[in-house]
């Protein structure tokens, strides 16, 4: 395997080099996002956490897979971050092609030994009042509150593009 020669052939412009570096940065950050949480005493694991934040908009949405490997059921109750004046749990329903999003104040249950997915096709974290604008690759510290496990902080990495692995079909 000779990645060096392959890379130099493909990369012609500075812009493309930057793009690849950004991708690498995000990939590394995502790996860190998945490895930081297991050390927490709660046992809750937050994986593949990212934020869809195009174009310096003041709203954005957060997605992740949250695993509860422990032996007791838990419930995600809320989210908060310093980077947004408000973070809310939202749910999504699709009826005859019409998509509706609503606040989910009672949160989302996570059964013992199972996982829940916050995704663009379902439950997610809605961020409002973002200032200054989020930057691509920025790790946003998100505090997730669980009924049993309490507070778990995990970095959600800002993407200007949806990671290829992030697509999940609607259940």
């Amino acid at each position: 395997m000779e990645p060096q020669s392959g890379v130099s052939e493909i990369l012609c412009t500075r812009g493309e080099v930057m793009k690849v570096w950004t991708t690498i940065t995000i990939a590394v950050a995502l790996m860190c996002a998945s490895c930081s949480a297991p050390g927490s005493p709660s046992g809750i694991v937050v994986e593949g956490a990212w934020i869809a934040a195009p174009s310096g908009n003041d709203v954005a949405s957060g997605f992740a897979t949250i695993r509860n490997p422990g032996g007791r059921a838990d419930r995600l109750l809320g989210a908060a971050t310093r980077r947004a004046s408000m973070a809310m749990l939202h749910d999504m329903t699709i009826t005859n092609g019409v998509v509706a999003m609503r606040a989910a104040p009672s949160g989302f249950p996570i059964a013992a030994g199972s996982e829940m997915v916050l995704s663009p096709q379902g439950a997610h974290i809605m961020l409002m009042g973002i200032s200054p604008p989020l930057k691509e690759g920025e790790p946003v510290q998100m505090e997730l509150t669980f009924e049993k496990a309490g507070r778990v902080v995990a970095p959600f990495v800002v993407g200007a593009k949806q990671p290829a692995s992030a697509h999940t079909t609607h259940p």
């Binding site: 195009p54 174009s55 949405s61 092609g97 019409v98 998509v99 663009p120 079909t169």
Partner: protein, 213 residues
């Protein structure tokens, strides 16, 4: 007596129409491969987007443009509002990802967005918003009644929903319409369609337009 009988027939008719509509959407949004035969579904699609060519909207790039003048290239068209943090960006990403995967040259497929929120989405704010995406997205705003007529022509429904903090969200049809170069709707993609299906449908659209993929 006669009036109630008529009412009953009307209600039954509407119920059947609603059921048929529901089945139609269910079939179109389950990600199943496109049928090649000229089925009832395809005929139903072909009636979309008609009769609105003279309506003038204001584009983020080209200023005031009659709807009919947007023809000429295959298009992926969707409706929404940019204050939505999920559907709009995800739809653009998924279309861009498919365009990239198919290796389409830039601008062979036109991605078009029509706002359902002209009070907040102006051509200027939308241009800034869509600059943040890799591909080219042309965004259109306009007078509320004009947008409503175009939305109706595509069977797009929407509803403003007030939120607790004085803000509002909009429930809306999040379907992507695929149009050929003549402006005819030839396929639809429901929100959440798997990437490989999006690619297959875009490939079919581009091949029918003469592109070699």
């Amino acid at each position: 007596m006669k009036a109630s009988w008529l009412g009953g027939v009307l209600a039954l008719g509407l119920t059947m129409a609603a059921l048929a509509g529901g089945m139609y959407w269910k079939q179109r949004t389950d990600g199943s491969p496109k049928q090649t035969s000229a089925s009832l579904i395809d005929q139903d699609i072909r009636r979309l987007g008609r009769g609105v060519d003279t309506i003038v909207l204001e584009g983020s790039r080209q200023g005031k443009t009659p709807w009919g003048a947007l023809k000429g290239r295959p298009r992926a068209l969707f409706f929404g509002f940019t204050h939505c943090a999920v559907i709009c960006p995800v739809t653009v990403w998924e279309l861009n990802n498919a365009v990239e995967a198919l290796g389409l040259p830039p601008d062979t497929l036109q991605i078009q967005f029509v706002t359902l929120d002209p009070e907040r989405d102006t051509p200027q704010t939308m241009q800034k918003y869509f600059e943040g995406f890799d591909g080219r997205v042309d965004a259109y705003s306009g007078r509320r009644e004009d947008i409503d007529r175009i939305a109706r022509a595509f069977d797009v429904s929407y509803r403003k929903v007030e939120e607790a903090d004085g803000q509002y969200t909009i429930d809306h049809t999040a379907t992507v319409f695929l149009l050929d170069a003549q402006g005819r709707v030839v396929d639809v993609l429901g929100y959440g369609t798997p990437p490989e299906t999006v690619q297959a449908r875009l490939r079919a659209l581009m091949e029918s337009a003469g592109a070699e993929l």
